[in-house]
Symmetry: C2
Subunit: 207 residues, 2 copies
Amino acid sequence: MLIEKPVVTFLDELASSAPAPGGGSAAALGAAIGAALVSMVANLTVGKKQYVDVQEDIKRILARSEGLRHRCQDLLERDVAAYTEVSKVYKMPRDTEPEKAAREAAMQTALKNATAVPMELAEVCVQILNLCPESTQKGNKNAVSDAGVAALMAEAALRSAALNVLINVGSIKDEAFVKKERARLDGLLAGKAALKEEIVKDVEARL
Amino acid sequence: MLIEKPVVTFLDELASSAPAPGGGSAAALGAAIGAALVSMVANLTVGKKQYVDVQEDIKRILARSEGLRHRCQDLLERDVAAYTEVSKVYKMPRDTEPEKAAREAAMQTALKNATAVPMELAEVCVQILNLCPESTQKGNKNAVSDAGVAALMAEAALRSAALNVLINVGSIKDEAFVKKERARLDGLLAGKAALKEEIVKDVEARL
């Protein structure tokens, strides 16, 4: 598994011309970093007597952020698998008409699967971002900049996931599918850049 | 070294209440991901006959992006060291006046060092972001979304580094130092959110 590799090996493989990991896995790792920072802020708040009034809220945030982090880690692996499948289909023979048809059908299936992974990541990123205002407001004040970094990473990962959805749907011929997925993506993106800026502004006011 | 650890261990330690790694290392890793993606786009373009006209440009970009990635990897380690030093100083005794004075002097030195690391990271992030327009325009068209993810990650890392500079300078008493560092940071941030949006728009137009 990719997440079992050393960080430096992951980065070396990302930088290489190997088909995977690519931007999709990079986005998943960015999102996992964001979720991990929400968890860190919560872990620095749990059990602290200055924060006795928010213990239940913080524990709820921590359970959510850790769940989301593990989903990002899974999505990182699933993105590699989905992209490896697309790469395999690209290498299918296309000398005869039946071969061309088989390759095209396999490609459409592989592209739909490769779209589902960043779409799910985009949903997870929105959920991470939605945890950040409360993390900023209720979390340990000494870690408030970390809550801001969490929001910045989650939003960049959301936009990155969106680019990965868009590059895949660009080659999908099922127009109804494409229309539906684009609308779903637009819904996920709506207002999130503004939310991120609000969170960062709130963090800066507390520094 | 932190980057020798498995990705999942890095994320587990980031999520924990351990003083380091924190938001500074997270920002450095985000920037490294951005630089690695610029390298990936270049590596997918080098030696390809469709891109014969841009080979020299691409090789120059690759040399730059790999140099910047390795600086991010160094900064990730240096951030941990700087923050560990600050944590140590927090634990110095402060029972007597001489102890208080020694602790305060050590704190000011540690905070200035802990400011230098994210400031250098912010500079590196700007350089990564500045490589992205050319990577988008000249790199392998099949990897254009990856050039967009590179810009998103580099800009989020820049803003994250800025939050880490700001939280540190908030406790530094040398007003001239604080004023100078804030001005330097403002210079690095100026226009970069707009540049990132331009790059993403250009990427979306090429999808």
